[in-house]
Symmetry: C2
Subunit: 367 residues, 2 copies
């Protein structure tokens, strides 16, 4: 309710997939929705049994709703194919494979800004040597397109480390692929890289598995598909280039002999690339609170890539989408949990401790 | 992010129509998403023009998205027909037209509570005279089903006045009807009443008109259909029964002659039934800030009826849905705006002033 009271046309509508605030709602949803005995107990038995009949109808309703969401997923698949040519064109322009025509670059509302910028540009070029200016004025495609987005979006910049940046300069595209009609509901994020000196993979993937059916124990909490698990991929790092580990030196004192020697040891470290080795949900093992939080954050990030970053990347690049999401991100991160965890992490690392935290799931059981 | 950090399966999913927090998001959305010059201006002209090409692709994307939402609306229409038999059955049970079978009333997780309640019931029945207990023990259907919901949901109880309650005891059903395939996108709320002494209508209606296309001035703000207008209905009140007006006495002093006489005057007053005479959006007149806020609140309420109350009425009756929405409602009303307005109202009314406020749109241009 903050914000536009000045707008008569309250932005009230059907929010399908596009609303990041949905995440906050989801996070807040209590999974312990229990039957409130106070209301029911005050009712005569005959009325109470009728209310139970309504509750049984409500369970049937939840199952119809689940089918509805499956059809929405189908619809998303169908529309993904319609968006794809636009996304492919985006990739071509970003990578410099295609130079857009003047007509394609015409942006109405910009004219004034552009003239201003052109002037600034001219002024600048007077001050710098000609050759340098020329090179800077015509780079290939849109340099650091995706890296700029990673830097601008809080949820991503929280994961981003300095050593990740040169690698992400090679990121050329992010794609979302939906599971097919017969398959269990899921989506896959594909991170496409140009050949680079860091790893051999050209595509890094992360699959998010979803569930779209009411829980039999708690059918009324059903609100649509939810992410229930995710799977990363193995990164085939070139020797010495793995930014998810760092080498530390540790002094070891031999028991008895008392000789001190220095050993080197590889320990996990913060990196966006830990995104590809998420904590594994296992039916037989309980996750501790930290791991659960880390996993919930991972699911949010996956959802955010799918719902916001990939469909409207250019708006995150220019900053136009950031204002929209601001309140969302504040809510997402308002506990300061993540940052606190990061801080702890850093301290521990300095001591050569390999205990993992936020973006560094070394404790996780990997498959 | 408040709440269930303890839950590994972060409730992240596709939120279609079902998420009331969407409203908060919508309210917060800035409609003044403007191009951020700082990022663009720092780019070389050649890159800037490529970014503009991406923005043009993004506009195309928004138009595809609008078609997606139209298809979702179609899907909702299709599913409305699937839910309807369940809603009809609900109405029959609520009104006592149909007595559900024992099997239909079997509610697994309740057994313990029920036994407890039965015991309490027995104890209570010992204390009260037999006949009275018998009558109370077997009322028709589920008495005050909808009124109880109005009382429990903050957004509705804020509108509810004491004089509305006896009328709402006659409310038998609320239906949502979607616009057809060829028609402009809209939905209609139907409030079905049993014959009563207050008004002649058996159905009161409120239609919400929607728009599902990107604004040509600001295409990037498009997030799906939004409510743009609504239309109420005329209530054919029985003489002296109109709860939306009250009669006040006012002393008038004749100028010159100095004679004081008492006149009675009908002035608008708070009532839920003002919901059926909303402020009219007119293209040629600007709404003041209060009216805009009132209208935005009205749109939220309409959306809430459609998304939450009607699909899951029994859960609002038992209180099971209330916890889910709690955080949402806090956000909705956290400015205390509404209450402030109500307070002002009361004072003004006591002075016999007919200036309208929150739920009392006397200043509005009605068609």
């Amino acid at each position: 309710m903050e914000g536009d009271k000045n707008e008569a046309k309250g932005k009230v509508g059907d929010q399908v997939m596009q609303n990041p605030q949905a995440l906050a709602a989801l996070q807040e949803r209590l999974d312990s929705v229990t039957h409130s005995p106070s209301v029911m107990d005050s009712l005569p038995a005959s009325v109470r049994r009728r209310v139970n009949a309504l509750k049984n109808l409500q369970v049937k309703s939840a199952h119809i709703e689940a089918k509805f969401y499956e059809e929405v997923h189908e619809l998303e698949r169908k529309y993904a194919a319609l968006y794809q040519p636009l996304f492919d064109k985006r990739k071509d322009i970003v990578t410099g494979t295609v130079e857009p025509t003047d007509e394609e670059c015409e942006w109405q509302s910009d004219h004034e800004d552009e003239e201003l910028a052109d002037e600034l540009q001219k002024k600048a070029s007077i001050e710098e040597p000609k050759e340098e200016a020329a090179a800077e004025e015509n780079p290939k495609g849109i340099p650091e397109f995706w890296l700029t987005i990673f830097r601008s979006v809080d949820m991503l910049s929280d994961m981003l480390q300095e050593h990740d940046e040169p690698i992400l300069k090679h990121l050329q595209d992010i794609k979302v692929l939906f599971s097919g009609p017969g398959e269990p509901m899921s989506f896959k994020l594909e991170f496409h890289f140009e050949p680079n000196n860091y790893f051999k993979n050209t595509v890094l993937t992360k699959v998010y598995k979803m569930k779209s059916e009411p829980d039999s124990e708690d059918p009324f909490s059903f609100e649509g598909p939810e992410i229930i698990d995710c799977e990363g991929c193995e990164i085939d790092w070139h020797k010495g280039k793995d930014v998810t580990v760092k080498t530390i030196k540790k002094k070891q004192k031999h028991k008895g002999r008392g000789v001190v020697r220095t050993v080197t040891k590889q320990v996990p470290t913060d990196s966006f690339f830990n995104f590809f080795t998420p904590i594994k949900v296992s039916p037989d093992s309980e996750l501790d609170e930290d791991s659960e939080f880390t996993l919930a954050t991972d699911f949010e990030i996956g959802h955010f890539f799918r719902e916001r970053i990939v469909p409207r990347a250019v708006l995150y690049f220019t900053g136009e989408a950031l204002e929209d999401d601001e309140s969302f991100e504040e809510e997402e991160l308002d506990e300061g949990e993540e940052e606190d965890q990061d801080d702890e992490m850093d301290e521990e690392e300095e001591e050569g401790d390999s205990k993992s935290g936020e973006a560094q799931p070394a404790e996780c059981k990997q498959q």
